[in-house]
């Protein structure tokens, strides 16, 4: 991860907020100075070695540092882990996601792990077992109330939940190696492999070496998943469909009951990479919802859930290249149908159209490879001998669905929709399947290429080209921010440049249907903001303005990097504003923190103060909500 000034500031601020000033100061020093030893840190921060050790302890406990002790010199160096620091801001989102995808007990466990950083299983067991008999009233003040039956109450239960999460890759094991910077490890392996003893001739070929490096590096990367594999061997592939089947669990848990107990000495922590995959699915589903409607979004969410089951990270590891992304998964219509939440009314969300106005051939077109850049100029659908012809049943099914749909929609009109869908569940199965399929086809047809229809088995196979969809999403976000800062005209001009590449200044006004002066003003404003730039090509040596061509262009990567930095800065500012607010209301806040006030604020405080306190809470919600939304954008540009 590339760390800008604002990103470093943000990380330090987050750590300051959660773990106090000491770790934050050390972290800030590590960000500015890079890899350091304790003595060096002492110089940078003006802190005593004792304090530094304390601070480093906190940071290491929370996985916020990379550290490494050189085998020869016995010297330990520390380095900030910006990704992990940034992930602190996502804790809330991850917990919410875990709760909705996996359940309450899982959320509780992940929350505990997030608080602890990492923990030995024995410690976890001890904590949970000792907590269990206690009454729920004062569990630990984090809102984790023991009252609900969903919570972990026994050691066996803890182990079940734990192994379940380990097998879903949400939790990974920690080894001493985990605290090393992956790029360091890679380079070390590389040096090790390519090293030749004095006198020895380099005999291995480059390709051999590369393969060896990759193997070793992959072994390093797979270490945290060793336990998962072990568990998988015992449990068989039960984890499939875990989150999609309504109400996971009972049978899953039963299966896991006869698993050998987990080694109590294993250390575990939360695996953010996998969490991000889940968050990405969530974001993509809401993107689909935003463009095509709610029901379609739900169908898409279900499909994404199926496809990302075995995806352990959003982007390929920079060192391993494409290999680290698993073989592209596909899901059949039947799969999606089985996992679709039954309460979703698939009859809604798509309009009706006369049958003769639907071209089934293009709707059902199968694309075996990811589409090129321009869907409009892609003429492949003229092929009359498409695979569609061979698949008559699909055709009939969809055709039938449209006529049938009209009936069910009219029913929806009168009765409560839920009843309509489920009264005759048995007969409407096929109907529902076709209607759901229509949503999938709609997704496949969208210009954002949410879904690719890639085969005909099981009433159609579907896959998602994540790179392309994410690129579309990034584009949409970028467009939106340009539109709102430079207006429709600004967006229009940049989109023209994106489509046409470098463009002569004289071409822009006529293409954009704008006045020449307006175009110039807009382009200048956007150039100031770093979105577009101009290249001057003199026609001759005189270099006078009227003998020079001016080509405008739009640098996508630079704009994205720029917007990312702006996002960091905006997040920092929101958090800082929160701090300012807290400082302003410090009297009230310190009063509220008193043990005898907590929980009964309304009774104890005067009306004036209570209102003030409430207002502050509102502001805090607003600011933190904003930070979360900005983080959503950061993830889109950086991680997903």
């Amino acid at each position: 991860m590339f760390v800008t000034k604002h990103a470093a500031e943000l990380c330090a601020l987050l750590v300051n907020d959660l773990y106090g000033e000491l770790p934050s100061r050390i972290l800030a020093a590590l960000f500015t100075k890079g890899r350091s030893t304790i003595t060096q840190l002492g110089l940078y921060t003006q802190l005593g070695p004792r304090q530094i050790r304390n601070g480093l302890g906190v940071l290491i406990q929370q996985n916020l540092l990379y550290h490494h002790t050189d085998a020869d010199t016995k010297r330990t160096t520390y380095e900030a882990n910006p990704g992990a620091c940034y992930n602190l801001v996502r804790s809330g989102k991850i917990l919410e996601m875990i709760e909705s995808q996996y359940g309450k007990a899982e959320r509780d466990l992940v929350q505990t792990l997030l608080l602890l950083g990492y923990a030995r299983i024995a410690e976890l067991t001890h904590a949970y077992v000792s907590r269990a008999p206690r009454s729920n009233g004062h569990a630990n003040g984090n809102g984790v109330n023991g009252a609900d039956s969903g919570l972990i109450e026994s050691e066996a239960e803890l182990h079940n939940v734990l192994s379940h999460l380990i097998r879903c890759e949400i939790i990974e094991t920690v080894r001493p190696q985990s605290f090393r910077n992956p790029s360091d490890v890679y380079h070390e392996i590389e040096a090790e492999v390519t090293k030749t003893a004095p006198g020895e001739k380099a005999t291995k070929t480059k390709i051999d070496q590369q393969r060896q490096i990759m193997e070793q590096y992959r072994a390093f990367k797979d270490q945290p998943k060793a336990l998962k594999r072990q568990l998988d061997q015992f449990g068989g592939p039960v984890t499939k469909r875990r989150k999609l089947g309504n109400g996971l669990g009972e049978e899953d848990r039963a299966m896991e009951d006869d698993m050998p107990p987990l080694n109590p000495n294993v250390v575990v922590r939360v695996n953010y990479d996998k969490c991000l995959v889940e968050l990405r699915s969530h974001r993509l589903a809401s993107f689909a919802k935003d463009t095509l409607g709610e029901v379609t979004g739900e169908v898409y969410r279900t499909l994404l859930g199926l496809l990302t089951m075995d995806v352990s990270r959003c982007r390929a590891d920079p060192f391993l290249g494409e290999e680290s992304i698993a073989q592209q998964a596909t899901a059949t219509t039947m799969d999606v149908y089985e996992h679709l939440d039954e309460s979703i009314n698939v009859t809604a969300g798509i309009g009706k159209a006369p049958k003769d106005k639907i071209d089934y051939q293009s709707a059902e077109k199968i694309k075996t490879a990811p589409a090129g850049n321009d869907m409009i100029n892609d003429d492949s659908d003229e092929d009359p001998s498409g695979p569609f012809d061979s698949d008559d049943s699909d055709d009939m099914g969809t055709k039938g669905s449209f006529s049938r749909r009209s009936r069910s929609v009219s029913k929806t009109n009168g009765a409560r929709p839920t009843k309509v869908t489920f009264e005759d569940a048995a007969t409407s199965t096929d109907n529902r399947l076709d209607q759901m399929r229509a949503h999938l086809l709609l997704l496949a047809e969208s210009k954002h290429r949410f879904v690719r229809h890639c085969g005909t088995q099981g009433r159609g196979q579907w896959t998602v080209d994540f790179d392309q969809v994410m690129e579309c999403l990034r584009e949409t976000e970028l467009d939106a921010s340009i539109e709102q800062s430079f207006g429709r005209h600004g967006l229009r001009l940049t989109r023209i440049l994106r489509e046409k590449g470098k463009l002569d200044e004289k071409m822009l006004p006529s293409a954009a249907l704008m006045k020449k002066t307006d175009v110039q003003a807009k382009m200048l404003a956007m150039q100031m903001a770093g979105l577009v730039d101009v290249q001057e090509v003199p026609k001759d040596n005189t270099r006078v303005a009227n003998r020079t061509l001016f080509f405008w262009f739009f640098d996508r990567e630079r704009s994205q990097a720029q917007i990312l930095d702006d996002l960091y800065k905006a997040m920092v500012r929101a958090l800082q504003t929160l701090q300012v607010e807290r400082h302003r209301e410090r009297n009230i806040l310190s009063f509220v923190e008193r043990k005898d006030v907590m929980g009964k604020e309304e009774e104890v405080m005067t009306a004036e103060h209570y209102n003030k306190y409430n207002r502050h809470l509102e502001e805090q919600n607003k600011l933190l909500g904003q930070v979360m939304r900005l983080d959503e954008m950061v993830s889109i540009f950086r991680e997903y």
Binding site: G249, K289, N345, P417, L442, L491, Q576, E619
Partner: protein
């Protein structure tokens, strides 16, 4: 009608004998008429082949052609290969040269004539003719007084003084086509047309669901368990309370302004969303009747909105392209033809955009995706680059955040 040419011919060639000049005049007339019948451009061989010149006498041909050129009835041209070609000129046009009394006027007029509908800049005239400034000005003035040339403004070079033949209209390139009125880009016209086109595409590319209230209610129902998993599906009601936070987060981008003003209003805005009865729905995949550029052009011409301007298909394409670049509509190719549909159909309102009085209200206008960044103060802060804790502006004294948080400024 031939009197002018026939009469002028002999007067010029007064030096030669009468019989000779009479013969020349007849030949000229004959050749000119043949050329008018035959086509556009002629080489020397073409002219000989017309068998107007007796004995294919090259010398005679040369004299005839020279004479015709002098009368401005023939235009001499040179091909890239070096071959000389001639083109005939209308007699009335040629007659205009007769009105030019001085050589300067003829020279200036011929250049302006050559430039055709695009017109010519006075500076170019001067450079080409290498005339003295006052002579040129004088010639132009006289030509203008005779009604042969007229000044006009070219939209590509609004600051240049250009001249064009008085008898023709400036070309589309010079006037900017239908988008210009009096050499100015007619932005109001374009804006209104865009709205009409947008409304048309919206109507044609979506399903107008009048009873969407029911569908929406169904959504509301579907929304609660949306994450796909609720343990023991029966305990819906119990989970509902907890789920509310998630839906609230979800609803925020939908109703940014209300949410920004009052975070507690989120649920009410959601209620408002479900109360909004009619809604637009996407059409099923493979729908073939998305409007094409041709459909849109037909609509515009039949509706008579563009009362005195004719929009070609190319012009309409330009208009639609701009809408695509504005992210308002998107092209979609079904069954080999490209149609257009509205982006983010599920979020668009059913009201029409065109014909609205208040431009600020954005009523019926396209609903665009709102970026979280620009919603908060920082995204639209004019001094964002300067903002620094301890600097002239910073989080501790930020006016924008104060306003955003709803604090009164003291």
């Amino acid at each position: 009608m031939s009197t002018s040419a026939a009469g002028a011919g002999p007067s010029r060639s007064n030096g030669s004998s009468d019989a000779d000049s009479a013969k020349l005049a007849v030949l000229k007339e004959l050749l000119y008429e043949r050329c008018r019948e035959e086509g556009d451009m002629f080489s020397q061989d073409d002219l000989l082949r017309m068998e107007v010149i007796p004995n294919r006498d090259l010398l005679l041909l040369a004299r005839v052609v020279q004479s015709l050129s002098d009368d401005k009835l023939f235009i001499t041209m040179r091909e890239a290969s070096g071959q000389v070609l001639w083109k005939w000129r209308d007699k009335q046009e040629a007659h205009k040269y007769k009105q030019c009394t001085t050589d300067e006027q003829v020279m200036v007029y011929s250049l302006i004539d050559d430039s055709g509908g695009d017109g010519i800049w006075t500076q170019t005239l001067q450079k080409r003719l290498n005339m003295h400034d006052s002579v040129l000005k004088n010639a132009i003035k006289q030509l203008q007084a005779k009604g042969l040339i007229a000044p006009f403004k070219n939209v590509e070079h609004p600051n240049k003084k250009m001249y064009i033949k008085a008898s023709i209209r400036p070309s589309d390139r010079a006037t900017g086509g239908p988008w210009y009125t009096d050499q100015d880009l007619d932005e109001a016209f374009i804006e209104d047309l865009q709205r009409v086109v947008f409304d048309f595409i919206k109507r044609q590319s979506s399903y107008h669901s009048t009873h969407a209230g029911a569908a929406k209610a169904a959504h509301g129902h579907a929304q609660v368990p949306k994450k796909g998993i609720i343990k023991g599906g029966l305990s819906d009601a119990a989970v509902k309370g907890k789920k509310r936070d998630a839906t609230e987060m979800e609803a925020k981008p939908v109703a940014p302004t209300t949410a920004a003003k009052n975070p507690l209003a989120v649920s009410s805005s959601m209620a408002a969303a479900s109360r909004r009865e009619p809604a637009l729905l996407p059409l099923p995949a493979g729908y073939m009747a998305y409007p094409t550029v041709r459909d849109i052009a037909r609509l515009l011409s039949s509706s008579g909105i563009t009362n005195n301007t004719i929009l070609s298909e190319g012009d309409v394409k330009k208009l639609v392209d701009v809408l695509v670049w504005d992210n308002l509509v998107e092209p979609i190719k079904v069954a080999g033809k490209v149609g257009y549909r509205v982006s983010r159909i599920a979020k668009q309102s059913v009201e029409s955009w065109a014909g609205r009085e208040d431009p600020s209200g954005r009523g019926g206008g396209p609903e665009l995706y709102i970026s979280p960044l620009t919603e908060a103060p920082c995204g639209r802060c004019p001094v964002f680059d300067l903002c620094e804790e301890g600097g002239p502006v910073g989080p501790s004294n930020c006016e924008y955040f104060k306003k955003w948080l709803g604090k009164e400024i003291f």
